[in-house]
């Protein structure tokens, strides 16, 4: 196993194209246990953290740009980002311990392909796009389309994510991410729920997004719930519809971390709670982005 640390996207791309068995990594928090457990044995380890673009965090009038290898602690400790996207920030702050968050990244969390990845529902409800680099050039893909199945992505073996783009949140918009774990920390989500709502001047919901993690082979959107929320104030009746729609969309498995029945039931609970928190935040963010 050889270690390589390219300093540019181009260098990384050509390295990946010329190595039959290369593994890109950012924080290596998933890659190391996988190699150690014998689940993969790449010939070349390509460290993306030495490429400036991949560890940047910037914003302009239109969007935030988050380098795919940027440590998640940079997001949680960035007040501007965390105020605008508290849901993404809190999801990033749930990926493992402080030790892990010094290293873990949105790119790694997404490309690991886990349906339980905490940041993915939060990124999805915020319409996040991934800029993917490869030998044939760059392409921009919606985050919801990156993961195609457990451990599988739409990336070719010589491609990697450079950065994420998140459009600036309009006023009266709030997001939230909640997860259920048996402990308070250091667990994989049994169920995760990301929500985002935008309110009209009258306080009713004009746009809504809801995504669930760990309840299906990939993170899923709950479109029925999103539609039900439009035009409402997320009153109790609507939330009941949201919860039912969330439970309905689940296609989970029984595994060591949770049962089908539990995941379905708690998906509804977390969906409801996440929407309520997003509502509260939306009400507080009146124009002062």
């Amino acid at each position: 196993m050889k270690y390589a640390a390219p300093s540019s996207v181009e260098e990384a791309t050509s390295l990946l194209s010329s190595s039959p068995s290369a593994q890109v990594f950012a924080g290596a928090t998933d890659v190391v246990p996988q190699i150690r457990g014998g689940r993969q044995a790449p010939e070349v380890l390509v460290d993306l953290k030495k490429i400036d673009q991949l560890v940047a965090l910037t914003s302009d009038d239109k969007k935030w740009t988050v380098g795919a290898a940027t440590p998640t602690v940079d997001l949680t400790e960035n007040p501007g980002f965390s105020q605008e996207f508290p849901g993404i920030s809190e999801a990033a702050g749930l990926i493992g311990s402080d030790q892990i968050q010094s290293r873990s990244s949105l790119g790694g969390n997404l490309c690991n392909g886990s349906p339980a990845a905490d940041s993915v529902p939060a990124m999805m409800v915020n319409g996040t796009r991934a800029l993917i680099a490869g030998p044939k050039g760059n392409r921009l893909v919606d985050v919801s389309e990156v993961v195609t199945g457990p451990g599988q992505t739409c990336l070719d073996s010589d491609e990697f994510i450079v950065e994420f783009e998140i459009d600036r949140a309009p006023s009266l918009t709030g997001d939230a991410y909640l997860r259920m774990i048996p402990r308070t920390e250091m667990d994989i989500a049994v169920v995760g729920a990301g929500a985002r709502v935008t309110l009209g001047e009258d306080g009713t919901i004009t746009a809504a997004a809801l995504a669930l993690g760990a309840v299906a082979p990939t993170v899923v959107r709950v479109t029925a719930a999103e539609e039900a929320l439009i035009g409402t104030t997320a009153d109790e009746d609507t939330l009941a519809v949201v919860a039912a729609a969330a439970s309905e969309v689940c296609n989970p498995i029984d595994d060591k971390r949770g049962t089908i029945g539990y995941r379905e039931q708690v998906a509804g609970v977390l969906a409801k709670r996440a929407v309520l928190i997003a509502m509260e935040r939306a009400q507080q963010r009146n124009g002062n982005v």
Binding site: A28, P33, R36, D47, K49, D98, R103, E185
Partner: protein
């Protein structure tokens, strides 16, 4: 097999060592550099016993490939002591009986230092969450949390 030459600063001293590329920084520190203060409890980032500061950020050294440390600045538990003077955290762990077997202690000290470097006046809840990546099976965490509270107080008063 050719090994890679790594140059780092560890606990304030320039240190270089040779390593296999796939070796963890933890094993390189322990086997090549001879610093055995950081411990391997799990090798998967779940226990925090191998915590170090890597460029001032608390990190599980078991999850870092040794070559990544090239050019980095590393602090291990062995570097907490300043010219023979114990760090207030070390002193408070001693006085507060915040260790039993002691295997997790180096990791807790490093994680607690990282916390106090960022947040000199943490609440009990903030301490508990900041230390959630460090497992201790002996103490039930009670005396560890109290020792960090006491060290924070002493450091604020200094």
């Amino acid at each position: 097999m050719a090994r890679t030459h790594i140059t780092t600063v560890i606990n304030g001293d320039e240190v270089d060592f040779l390593t296999e590329d796939s070796t963890s920084l933890l094993n390189a520190l322990r086997d090549e550099v001879g610093l055995t203060g950081a411990k391997e409890g799990c090798g998967t980032g779940d226990c925090g016993s191998c915590s170090i500061l890597l460029d001032e950020r608390v990190t599980c050294s078991c999850l870092v490939f040794a070559p990544e440390a090239n050019g980095a600045n590393i602090l291990t538990v062995e570097g907490l002591t300043d010219a023979g003077e114990l760090h207030p955290l070390q002193q408070c762990f001693l006085e507060g009986a915040a260790l039993q077997c002691g295997i997790c202690t180096p990791g807790f000290l490093i994680a607690a230092k990282a916390l106090l470097d960022k947040n000199p006046d943490p609440t009990e809840t903030e301490i508990r969450y900041a230390l959630a990546g460090n497992l201790c099976r002996c103490t039930g965490y009670d005396k560890i949390v109290r020792a960090v509270q006491e060290a924070a107080l002493q450091m604020r008063e200094q």
